[in-house]
Every structure is written in C-alpha cells, then in structure tokens.
Amino acid sequence: MATEVILPRLGQGMESGTIVRWLKSEGEPVQKGEPLFELDTDKVTQEVEAETAGVLLKIAVPEGEVPVGQTVAFIGQQGEDVPEVAAAAPPQEETKAAEPEAVEEAPQQPAAVVSGNGRIKASPLARRLARERGIDLRSVRGTGPEGRIVAEDVERAEAGGPAPVALPTAPTSTGEVERIQLTSIRKTIARRLTEAWQIPVFQLQTSADMTRVNALVARLRERDPDVRATVTDVLTKISAQALMRHREVNAEFTDDAILLHPRANVGLAVAAPQGLVVPVIHSAERLSLTEIAAVRSDLVGRARESKLRAEDIEGGTFTISNLGMYAVERFTAVLNPPQAAIVAVGATEDRVVPFDGGTAVRPMVTLTGTFDHRAVDGAPAAAFLQTLKESLEDPGLAL
C-alpha cells in the first residue's frame, strides 16, 4: 500500500506550514531521509525528508498552506494505485480560508479523520483523555498513523488548540499520577532556563508609588478607548527610556566583549497556552505610549494564538515579566539570555507608607531586577532601577 506523506509538526505550536516547492517530482524514486519538499513555518524554512523509500507516486498539494497532519503526497511502489486525493487533501483555497477562524472558535467542521460510518479514529487512551478533560474529539486533528488521534494530539488540543466544546462537569481525579508528555516548546523552555540558571546573577529591589502612572493610564484610556493602554505599556516605555540612559544595562555578555545595544527592544513575558513566550517590542524608546499599546496588544494576542513569527520573538535586549494580575506582591525572574537584565513586576497594591511627614495609603508596586553580573555591576544596575522608580513616580519626567 502506498504510504502517505504527512505534513510534519516541526516545532512548538506549529499548526500549519506552507509548502514552498517540491524537491522531487512525481514518478521519481526517493530514498528514506532524502529531502522531499521545502516547508515554510512560523519559525523556519526547512527541508522535509522522506520517512520511507519508494517512488513519489503523487503530490497531493503542490504548494500552499497545509495544516499539520494532512496528507501531502504518497510514496510507494512504481505503478501502485494511490487513494483518491480529494478525500485526503481538501482543495488548497478551502484550507487557507478555513484556517484562521478555525483556531479561535469552536470548529465548524471536523478536524479529525472520520470514517464512513461517522466514527472518529482515535486511540483508546486519546478517547479516555478527551472524555476526562471534556474535549470534543471532532475538534482534534490526529497526527498518528493514518490520521489517528493519539494522546499527544488531545493534550495539544487542550493546551492550544480549538476551545473545548463542552466544559468538563467536575474534573474527576482517577487517583493516579498524571503524565504530561513534554512538548517541544516545554523542552525548549526547560533547556533555556537551565542555561540561564548557570549565569551569575544578582537581584535588586525597589518599590514605586504608582499614583501618577495610574492617572496616566486612566487618561490614555479615556482619550483613546480603542487602544487599551496598560501599566505594562507605561513600564515598557519607561524601561526603554531608562535603558537609553543606562546603556550598560541594555547589554549582552559575550566571550570577548560586552555588547551595548543601540535600541531598547523590550520583551514581554507572555503566558501562551503552550508555554512561556517573550514577544519583543522593538525600538520602544522611539514609540509613543499609544504605539506601544497597539504593538503590545497585537503581539500578546498573537502569542496566545501561537501565531508569532520569528521576528516577533527575536532581538530582545531586555525583558519585563509582570505577574501583577495574579496578586503576586514581588518575585524574582530568571534571566532571559543573552539579555543582561530582566525586571519582575508585582501587583500594584495599596500599602501604608511614610508620606509627606506622616503615613498614607498609596498604590505601590515592587520591582525586582535580575542582572547578569558578568555584564553589569551593582552600582550601574542600581542606578537603572532608581531611574525606573523615579520615572514611575513622576512619568512626565521620563517622557
């Protein structure tokens, strides 16, 4: 029987890929491991290798965007029949049109491989996981043999795929240890954080009165309700200005030199469904608060939909990690190498503080900076943090 060539998942969060061109033509013999076609994804362009040897019998999708797991070609013996392509590969235009919306809402059409009698092809384990987690298998795309939904697909769907159709009534614990297979993004996070942990760092902490920042954000929202400005946007702008004043913090340590970056490319740690990502607001020092808010809104939105492009996550020189929305008072962040600094932002909360010779209740935030000591010493880092504090307390001075 002819073997289907399936569009592979090449990396974290990949939902689809674009076939750029085929490196083999129909009727040509193919060795296992030989490059078959060129695939463009969110992150990379890569040659995809044949997983079986034989003759490339049929190219089902000559070029264009294809969802992961779809059949794009058949490899088999010379003269062998291939299954009806129409059944395996929907026309390209249709795929393109259906893709963008399909991610957001409950699916209009089944993503799963459904057999003639309407039964979805899924492993028993995948069925149980879907049942326990309230996931509709019709919304899950199978990547197992012949499009079978396997456990990994259900986990992926739960993490980042289409929203579950039915909410789980009451999560029932089976009393067993649950095993969550590492996704590639989880592996990348683990590897990068382990690397970051090797770097000698130090932490500095300061608190700032947010009265004026809050007033500024309120005013911005009033003036421009469409672009919902946030405290993070002000922090981004203020950090960018501070980085330009303290360029030794906007740095990168290399084996033979310390690089001081000319632009403040500020990364924002975002909890995307499949894991932590850090989209970057480039040249934030040159953008207005409203521009920053617009860029941030677009980036965070796409991060949550796993639609970031390579350029969105590259080139950061500094990172802000904000857990204020979770009522975390203060925390320390792990460095995001090769950057030399990251600032962890806690919740803005009312605290009793000395004020004007007495005490007062003021909205306070605590910032904790983590710095690469190889690149930055304590004093310049402290000066940077002081600038942040002063700018937050009197944002007009920073802008």
Binding site: S123, P124, L125, A126, G144, P145, V150, A151, R179
Partner: protein, 326 residues
C-alpha cells in the same frame, strides 16, 4: 556472584535438589552416559548413579507416564523430553493425566512432576526439531508453564518447578544454553507466576519470552538512539501469567509489543494482547503489535530459517510502529 551458563544453571538446580532431597530424580532419553542430547545432564550419572539418573526407552508417552506415576507416589521426578517437538508424543500423559489427576481425585492426588524440554531455531535443525510449542500447553488448565531466558531465571525457576506440587512444563531454548550470566551464590527460588522487568522505559513495553527477550533488549538499545524509551518485560512464567506486572507496565507506557519465537498466529502473544487490551484498554495509544515467526514450518536452509523466525530488527520495527515512527 558466580557466573554460569544457562546449561550449567539448569544442571546446578537439578544437582542441588538431588543432593539435598532423595525424592528428586531425573529421567529421559540418553540423559545418563550421554548427558542428554544438549549436554545438560553431563556428569550427573557419576555423582548420582543410574537409579536416579535414568535412561528411558525411546517412548515419550512411556517416560512421561512413568514420571507421573512416580510423582503420584510422592517422588519429585524431572523428566526430560529431548525436543519439545516430541511433547506431542507425550501429550496424552501430560494433558489428560498429569494436568487432570489432582482435580479429578478431589485433591487426594498431587502430581509434582516437571517436564523439562527444549526447542528453538537458529541452528538449522529443520521443521521437526525446533518448534516453539508453549502455546499448546498454556491452554491446558492444571498445568503450569515456565519459559526462562537467563541463567539466573532458569535456575531459580527450575527449583520452584521441582518443588511445586503441580505438573510444570518447563521450556528451555536451545540457543540460550551457552549464554553466561551472574547467578546468586546460593540458589534463590524464583516464584512461579512473577514477571521480570529487564529494562525500564517510558514509551513502549515489549513483552518477550525466551530468545526474544535478548533480541528485544537489543532492539530497545537501538530504539533508544531514536529517542524511544523501551521497557522490556519477560513474563518468565506463561501459566500462571503475571498479568499485574504486564498491565501496569503498559498503563505506564501506553504502547505494547508482544514478541516470541513461536509463530504469531494463535501464539502465546495473542493471549497477552487480549489481556492487555481488556485490562488496559483506556491506556492504549496504539494497536498492540505482535512479533513472531511467519506461519510456516521451519526450513532447514539457514537463510530461509533466518527469514521465518523473528529477530531484533523485527522487534524494532514493531516498536517504531507503535510510536508512529515506522
């Protein structure tokens, strides 16, 4: 820890039992002066004499019947059936007598007999001297069936078989006799009905018997290079079967391959697959794969024999199919 070959380990279990217990004796075709066709009982005649190392006529039915009779009278005989192919000649006694007498006598009789036998391909013995017929005997209520794959296991399990009050059909594999392995200084009985996890892994469980245990361990190492973590479990006792160990392993890995040298069709692995699919249904993420010989008599020609029986690469291919990497 001393090192013994599989052959020496069998002999050590027999000799040690005979030294400490007058009820234990061995019988079979050419086991005395010749030391058995596989040399397992070599030298035992000198130590124990012909009363306890008994050559028998070339009649498997007669020698099996004599052993059963001795067992009913309170002895613990170990009868050697030269090739397991010849168990077919003793089947009446093993299946209709040994397996049934305890039940039919309402427990008044016990039959503590062991039928030791060997088989297996890999040395071109042809269609009548290398079959793997364990599936015939696991089907019979009243029999226990053991198939050990290492020197340590074969010694500890043979000991337990000798001292079990029920008839045990004890399979050895021809090509395993020369393999060496560490064994405890003193014989440590291995309970009948307990599987052994040879190697732990997280992605696929391979349940293998006899020679295929070793082939599966090779395949597991290969798979590791492809990032597939394989658990290898040898049931060791085929009847009773340690379902708990097998099922819990598969619940952990979510995938299973069953591998033996006997033909796949209606093989022991079919029962294992049935047990797994029933008890671990909701944990399975792929169809259970089966590895075994092709459904054909074993050819004499080495190339053909090699083609018919399974090897490490067949196990590896099955492993890869379960994780969708075939």
């Amino acid at each position: 820890m001393p090192e013994l070959t599989y052959r020496e380990a069998v002999r050590d279990a027999l000799s040690t039992a005979m030294r400490q217990d007058d009820d234990v004796f061995i019988m079979g075709e050419d086991i005395a002066e010749m030391g058995g066709s596989m040399g397992v009982t070599a030298g035992m005649l000198d130590e124990f004499g012909k009363e306890r190392v008994r050559n028998t006529p070339i009649s498997e039915m007669a020698l099996a019947g004599a052993a059963i009779g001795a067992a009913m009278q309170g002895m613990r005989p170990v009868a050697e059936i030269m090739y397991e192919d010849f168990l077919t000649l003793a089947a009446e006694q093993v299946v209709n007598q040994a397996a049934k007498l305890r039940y039919m006598s309402g427990g008044q009789l016990t039959v503590p007999v062991v039928f030791r036998t060997q088989g297996g391909a890999g040395w071109s013995p042809g269609a009548q001297h290398a079959q793997q017929l364990e599936a015939w005997f696991v089907h019979i209520p009243g029999l226990k069936v053991v198939f050990a794959s290492t020197p340590e296991d074969v010694r500890g399990l043979l000991w337990s078989a000798i001292y079990d009050d029920n008839p045990v059909v004890f399979f050895e594999h021809r090509t395993l006799y020369p393999i060496k392995g560490d064994v405890p200084q003193e014989i440590e009985p291995i309970p009948i009905g307990r599987a052994r996890v040879h190697r732990e892994g997280g992605d696929v469980t391979v349940i293998a018997t006899g020679r295929l245990v070793h082939e599966s361990l090779k395949a597991a190492e290969e798979a590791e290079r492809d990032g597939i973590s394989v658990e290898v479990v040898d049931p060791r006792t085929l009847q009773p079967l340690d379902e708990e160990t097998l099922v819990s392993s598969v619940k952990k890995t979510n995938r299973a391959v069953v591998a033996h040298e006997a033909v796949t069709r209606m093989g022991f692995g079919a029962e294992v697959a049935a047990v797994l699919q029933y008890q671990a249904f909701d944990w399975l993420d792929a169809p259970i794969e089966r590895v075994g010989a092709k459904f054909a008599p074993l050819p004499f020609a080495p190339v053909m024999e090699n083609f018919v029986v399974p090897h490490a690469e067949d196990v590896l291919a099955a492993i890869k199919r379960t994780v969708g990497k075939a």
